[in-house]
């Protein structure tokens, strides 16, 4: 039995018999962790209130060798982001981020930069205007792609090196960025984007969350940029496109 202290985001909780829960954590030290929080649903539990979605916590993790499931102890909240559930779209996009972390992380494989990114994203989402939730979310996913080395490369055509001046801009998934009209292969897996969406993508790659939160982007342009980022995440990180949180957000309309 090993015992380590971890710092982690709660990215999923499911109820186990009565008042216990199975908690999925995205930890700084050990990557994705699944652990049981015994009796946590009881108000008298010392861990009460800690294993809530989005919370950044510190806890002890007990684990037998080769066991899938550990046990949590001595948990304390380091940061909660309680404005996220106070707005339904923020809640949806925050949940989508948790779902992405679940799908792209593995046990014993820490992702320190993505851990920091998550802290920054949750903090910004928590304090931002509700209308910017989507933009912040897609920027965060863009930044995750950059951490993994798959950010769309947009400065110039990846084939001939010319700066973009085309009316028709194509972003190739396989080649990982901009390909001009003259260089695009006929059956290449590529997404056409407008100049405005292209500029937004550039800003997402370059800017911090504060700058992004200030940007004014029309819904149509936002969707175009989102499509590029989601396609990249799906192509390069194996992220499924049909996340449950996306369905939730669609059901809200608008």
């Amino acid at each position: 039995m090993s015992r380590i202290k971890i710092e982690a985001f709660v990215i999923r909780t499911t109820r186990l018999a009565e008042s216990s829960r199975v908690v999925t954590l995205f930890s700084r030290q050990a990557g994705k962790v699944k652990a049981v929080a015994k009796g946590v649903g009881k108000p008298k539990s010392k861990m009460s209130g800690t294993v809530e979605l989005f919370n950044l916590i510190e806890c002890l993790l007990y684990k037998k060798e080769n066991a899938d499931l550990g046990t949590m102890g001595d948990a304390a909240v380091l940061d909660d982001y309680h404005h996220i559930p106070a707005d339904t779209r923020k809640f949806g996009f925050g949940s989508a981020w948790c779902e992405i972390l679940q799908k792209t992380s593995h046990p014993d494989q820490p992702r320190p930069e993505t851990f920091e990114l998550t802290a920054l994203f949750f903090k910004t989402l928590d304090l931002s205007e509700p209308g910017n939730a989507g933009l912040l979310f897609w920027s965060a996913l863009f930044k995750m792609l950059a951490i993994e080395g798959y950010a769309p490369r947009l400065e110039k055509c990846l084939s001939c090196g010319k700066k973009k001046k085309d009316a028709k801009l194509m972003i190739s998934l396989g080649r990982g960025g901009l390909i001009c009209a003259g260089c695009i292969e006929e059956d290449e897996d590529a997404i056409p984007v407008s100049q405005s969406a292209f500029d937004i993508l550039g800003a997402m790659g370059a800017g911090g969350f504060e700058d992004i939160a200030e940007m004014e982007v029309s819904p149509r342009i936002g969707r175009e940029a989102a499509e590029v980022i989601l396609s990249f995440a799906s192509y390069h990180l194996g992220l499924p496109r049909n996340l449950k949180s996306f369905k939730f957000l669609e059901s809200l309309g608008g």
Partner: protein, 197 residues
């Protein structure tokens, strides 16, 4: 172990809070008692399953079209307490302090479980507030999902005419109404605060 004993223990241990040991104890207890007793228990389970359905008005469990609370004419129908589950209604009823009506959502918003507004008993709540309601008490659990659900309900129900309140934060965050002791729950209900942040 005989196969049917094994299967009985297995079935009992699938119940919440019952481990293998308790399940075995329950099984041996049933086997020692007269057969009629076991028949009665199984019949009661089946009857409850067959007869109970959601109340047409509030979504609480009922064996008539309306649940006992909605059918009770002495209750104050200008007040609706919105909860996640029928077990939350029982917890509040056990206090013997609240005399208004209820509305049972059947869960809480949870994108990760694929539960959106359309999956909860919300449209009938919207219809209910048209007639003579003075106050809606949002008594979803103090969890992330419960808070999100309360905020969503506030955003679609606020009209200016109806007072919308949230049970106070006496219940520890992450706890549930079901497991909260009486005094704390009564305090949270009594000290509910106006929901306008």
């Amino acid at each position: 172990m005989p196969k049917s004993l094994d299967e009985l223990i297995e079935a009992l241990s699938s119940l919440p809070g019952i481990g293998k040991k308790s399940a075995a104890r329950l099984a041996f207890h049933l086997l020692k008692r007269p057969l009629d007793e076991s028949i009665e228990i199984s019949e009661r389970i089946i009857n409850a399953r067959r007869n109970l359905k959601p109340c047409a008005v509030c979504g609480n469990l009922a064996d008539q079209e309306r649940c006992d609370i909605c059918a009770d004419t002495s209750r104050d129908n200008s007040m609706i307490c919105v909860v996640e589950e029928p077990s939350d209604v029982s917890a509040i009823e056990a206090l013997n302090e609240y005399r208004g009506a209820y509305h049972v959502l059947g869960g809480a918003l949870s994108p990760l479980d694929g539960i959106g507004p359309d999956d909860l008993n919300i449209s009938s709540l919207k219809k209910r507030i048209k007639d003579g309601i003075h106050e809606i008490i949002l008594a979803t659990n103090p969890s992330t999902e419960g808070e999100a659900t309360a905020s969503y309900l506030y955003s679609i129900l606020k009209t200016g005419q109806i007072k919308i309140s949230r049970i106070a934060r006496g219940i520890p965050a992450g706890g549930s109404l079901e497991f909260t002791d009486r005094a704390t729950l009564a305090g949270a209900l009594e000290n509910r605060i106006s929901f306008d942040h």
